[in-house]
Each structure stands twice: as structure tokens, then as C-alpha cells.
């Protein structure tokens, strides 16, 4: 009997010890059933923030709620509009008090497969990224600690945090986890391009297929940076910062990845964005300088600025660069590439009820 008691005490101690080590975990029926096509890679989901129904639902509410901003006027959705595939149709976003930022709002698509965030890659997790705009004086102009206090006092939110994370005393970490859970489930996978995996070129019109061929051959060589088959689908590329000739040597100093790494060799290197829904996400580039896809194609065809960090994929053809200032695409070729890019539009994504504003009746 005494032995059983000793074994029992050991087991109980073990169980309590394990519970102390593990953070709040989802109950089995709260586990979020994340769906992605079989041809997508496994998602990069942190073990300390598993997807739960309660976490995703809470994150969606926070995403659409201006309570995150100093004067309750700006929500995440103010600058990441679902109609624009969670980008914004303005060059720069307007924050609290009319403050204007200096970068274009990035589209939020298939973030579950990405590892670095913001144009300069300064956030290394989605959880970290989610808190960035709250603390940015040009955006929500708040502090995540203040927001946590507001949410802890909220009759609406405190119980929801309790349900999702086990505590009604909200912390900045819990806010980041909730918002990132919602962002992680935002998936685009029903474009015309997705059909290519089943029916190959029959997915496209003749013009789209001509553009596809330019994109995926060395004529356009877009795939060198935007990835080939799997990357374009889910955008999980390990080399994702490139200098595409937007800036001169003087203009690029301290901009892009070098803001983080402090290396001059990273000046002017920006995160290569997903091309999914590109038809909906203009204006384009980190500074929103191109209003249309036609302007974008003109840039790649003849507007490349040479600088010390210009990507090898441009400098490897000095003759083209010298003669055309870029790829030297014909007007027909540009139209064909644009037609192909539009096959990445996914209206099922922009109309997905799971991504809509939960406060709208």
C-alpha cells in the first residue's frame, strides 16, 4: 500500500510539473481545423501559439476593432482592406491624427508560410509583426501595454482572452498571439493559377499562357525572385530580400533590409511580396510608387536604376540593361505578363466569410 502511495505521489508530482511547463493549451474541440490544399507546404506555426477556434475568432475581432489605436479610430483593417486582398489602395496609410507613413501597406496573404515580415524584415514572427502597428506613432500611436490594459477592462474581450489563453488579464503577448492566429488562417488558394496544378496549361487562355511562359523563362525571369512552382503558390521562399533597382546608390542608404542588418550590402533590398491577388493590391512596391500593373511592367522593362546592390538577375545581362534599362519587353509581352498576373486573382478569398468584419451585420 505504501509503495502505491509513493508511486502515486511521484506521478502526481510529474503531472503537476508538466502542467507548469506547458502554457495554456487548446481543448481538443477548440483546435482550429486549418485547411490548405495538399500541394501547399506545411505551415510554420509556433508551438507556443497553436491555432484554436477561440484564438482565431478573437484575433479576427481585434483585427477589425479600432480599440487597438490611441483614439479608437484606426484598426488593422483600416490599412489592410479585404477588398484589396488585405492591402490598401493608397500609396501611404493614414494613422492616428492624420499621420502619414512612408511605406505601402503590404497585402496579408498566406502569411502562415512566411518567416520575415514588413518590407525590411524587421519582424521575425507573425506574433511580433502583429504588435508593430500598435506601437508605431505613424499608425495606431498606442502602446501594446495600454491596449492590454484596455482589453483587460473590457467586458467583451476579457472573457474571450480567458477562453483563448486561460487568463482575463490581457498581456501584449496574448494580443500578438490572437491577431497572428487570425492572420495565419488567411489563405488564398482558389485562383486560376491554382488550377494549373491539375490541368496545366489548359488553365489559361492563350494570352495568359504566353505571359506564364515569359514569367517562368529567362525572357522575363520573374521566377528568379518570385519563385517557381511551390513558392508562387504559398510564398515560402528562403531568400526573400532583393534589390530590384528602384533606388540609386544615394537613395537606398539605410533603406530596406539594411535597416535591420546595418550592412551596406543590404541597402535597397526589400522583401519580395507575394504576387497573389496582385490585381487587387496596388499601388505597388514598398513606397507605392506604381499605381498600375502597366506602370510596374514599364519599370521592369525600361526603368531599372543601377546601383551597387542591384540584383544579379539584372546585372547578368549588361547589354539588355544598357540598351533597354531593363528587360526590354515589347508592349505585347507586357500585356501578356499582366494577363498572367491576373490569373492570381482569387475572388473566393476576398469574399470568404471567415475573413470578413465580424462587427458588420
Amino acid at each position: 500500500m505504501k509503495k502505491f502511495a509513493i508511486i502515486g505521489i511521484i506521478l502526481l508530482t510529474f503531472v503537476f510539473f508538466m502542467q507548469a511547463c506547458v502554457e495554456h493549451t487548446a481543448t481538443p474541440d477548440d483546435t482550429y481545423d486549418f485547411q490548405a490544399p495538399p500541394y501547399f507546404p506545411q505551415i510554420i506555426s509556433p508551438t507556443n501559439n497553436p491555432l484554436t477556434k477561440s484564438g482565431v475568432s478573437l484575433g479576427r475581432m481585434l483585427f477589425y476593432d479600432p480599440i487597438l489605436s490611441q483614439d479608437s479610430t484606426i484598426s488593422c483593417s483600416s490599412c489592410h482592406n479585404i477588398a484589396n486582398a488585405f492591402a490598401e489602395d493608397k500609396k501611404y496609410s493614414v494613422g492616428v491624427g492624420g499621420a502619414t507613413g512612408d511605406v505601402n501597406a503590404m497585402a496579408l496573404i498566406n502569411l502562415a508560410w512566411q518567416q520575415k515580415f514588413f518590407w525590411n524584415g524587421r519582424a521575425t514572427s507573425l506574433e511580433e509583426q502583429a504588435l508593430g502597428p500598435i506601437n508605431n506613432p505613424l499608425e495606431m500611436h498606442e502602446t501594446s501595454e495600454n491596449v492590454a490594459a484596455k482589453l483587460s477592462r473590457s467586458k467583451r474581450y476579457a472573457p474571450l482572452f480567458k477562453q483563448a489563453f486561460g487568463s482575463a488579464t490581457v498581456t501584449p503577448e496574448m494580443i500578438g498571439k490572437a491577431i497572428s492566429q487570425f492572420e495565419r488562417i488567411i489563405v488564398s488558394n482558389q485562383s486560376t493559377y491554382d488550377k494549373f496544378y491539375e490541368i496545366q496549361e489548359q488553365a489559361f487562355t492563350a494570352e495568359e499562357y504566353a505571359g506564364f511562359r515569359i514569367f517562368f523563362t529567362e525572357r522575363g525571369q520573374c521566377f528568379h525572385c518570385h519563385g517557381a512552382n511551390g513558392t508562387l503558390l504559398a510564398h515560402n521562399l528562403d531568400t526573400i530580400f532583393r534589390n530590384n533597382g528602384l533606388l540609386t546608390d544615394q537613395e537606398m542608404i539605410g533603406k530596406g533590409l539594411s535597416f535591420v542588418t546595418k550592412k551596406a550590402t543590404d541597402d535597397g533590398k526589400f522583401k519580395v511580396p507575394t504576387l497573389r491577388n496582385i490585381e487587387l493590391t496596388g499601388p505597388y512596391m514598398h513606397d507605392g510608387r506604381f499605381a498600375t500593373l502597366a506602370e510596374l511592367m514599364d519599370f521592369y522593362s525600361s526603368g531599372i536604376k543601377q546601383n551597387a546592390n542591384l540584383d544579379i538577375n539584372f546585372t547578368k545581362s549588361p547589354e539588355r540593361l544598357e540598351q533597354y534599362g531593363g528587360l526590354g519587353l515589347t508592349s505585347t509581352e507586357k500585356q501578356q505578363v499582366i494577363a498572367f498576373l491576373k490569373t492570381l486573382t482569387d475572388t473566393a478569398f476576398t469574399h470568404n466569410p471567415a475573413y470578413q468584419n465580424p462587427f458588420k451585420k
Binding site: 523563362t217 519563385g227 543590404d266 544579379i312 547578368k316
Partner: protein, 243 residues
Amino acid sequence: MKLQLVFVLFFFSLMGCTWDNQDSTGSLKVNFAHTFQDATLQILESNQLIYTTTTGNKFNIKNLKYYIAKLTLYQNNGAKYDVNMVKLINPMEQNTNYQNYTLANIPNGKYTKMSFIFGVDSARNTFPFGLPNNSENNSMEWPFTLGGGYHFMMMEGVFQNSKSDTVGYAIHLGVTPNQFYNEFPLDLTVNGNDQSIDLQVNMEQWFNGINKINLNDGFGYMMEDQQKQLLFKQNGVGVFTLK
């Protein structure tokens, strides 16, 4: 007392499993040691031109990744140890796991030959996703329009061209005919132990092999140029040597 006996037996049974493995198999870690003219290869972020080809091109290497596949060990009696592996070698990664491959659970015995394929074996060099669908393999994809599968090698950098401008080059090898087979005599006795060997990867050989490469001859767009890829395939045969 009985309880203590159970614990002791359980402990010994676990240890017994480990000892069995150590007795009957061993491991071999193959380190890929990249050199240029017998010095450790330098992969640069800057445009400094630190190497010269025999044709006079001053150049550097800024990006290097390649696959090896089907690393296999052979015994004199015809027995072979083949784990059907594929490995992306990436000397740019801080993590040295990208610069070695460990053959584990090799049956004890004397091995006299080692071989591998440079590139991805044809069974897995397919569209879509012949290899596991993850970021490292996706970053090596060879477009469907050009035959599909994977880049066998990406080697990129800059060089000083005939106009004295610093411009890029991109040596990209892919498509199944451009794989090549490597084999080396080996003197390895596996006796339940862990061992390692160095495979020297002489990068100079890519440029100064049986084909003397002049980067001015247009090595920016070779993915659709089988003749240019063939030059590197032929040079590649002498790149790897067992130390």
C-alpha cells in the same frame, strides 16, 4: 524490493537497445569542404573580386547551393549501403548541417568505395514536388516551362567584364541529363563507431576544368542553353575529391 527490481530491469533493457545498435552499426559524417586554389572558399556579400579564372576573369561567388543524391557505400563483396538520400548543400548557411551529411546505421564491415550523384536523381527531379514541399526545396525549383524539377546547382556572383564593368553571372544547372555520377575509392572500416571524412569541393575546377570558362561568353542566361550547362557538367566531374 520488487519495484526496485522492475526499475533496474527497465533501465538495463533501455541500455541494452543502445548497446545493440552500437555493436552492429556505425555512422559516417561526410563533410563538404569547399576550397578555391586550396584555400577555404569565401562567399561574399560585397562585389569584391577575389578570384581569377585561367581565362583572366576576376570574379567572386555570392551564392552557392547544390544537391547531392544517393550517397552510397560499397563493400568488396558487392554489398552496398544506400539510404536513397537527397541533400541540399548550402555553404552560405551558418548552420554547418548544410555542409555535411551523416550516413547513420551503417552495418559493420569494410567499405572500399563511395559514390553519389551530383544533382537530384531522376526519380525525384520531377514536377511538382519530387522533393518535400518546403522552403529550401522550393527555392531550388526549376520552372515547369523549362522542364520542371530542381536546380542541381545555383552559383552566382559578379565579375569584371570585357568593358571593365562589374556585372553578374548565374551558373544554373538543372534537368536530368546534367546530373553526373561521382565515385571514390574508400578505406573505411565500420565497427560500431562514429567516423567522419572530408570531401574536398574544389570550386576552381568548375571554371578551370577541361573546359576553360570565360564569363564574358554569356553565363547569365544558361537555363535554356544546354551547351553551356554541358560545359559545367563536364568540369564538375573533377570538382569532388576524397581527402
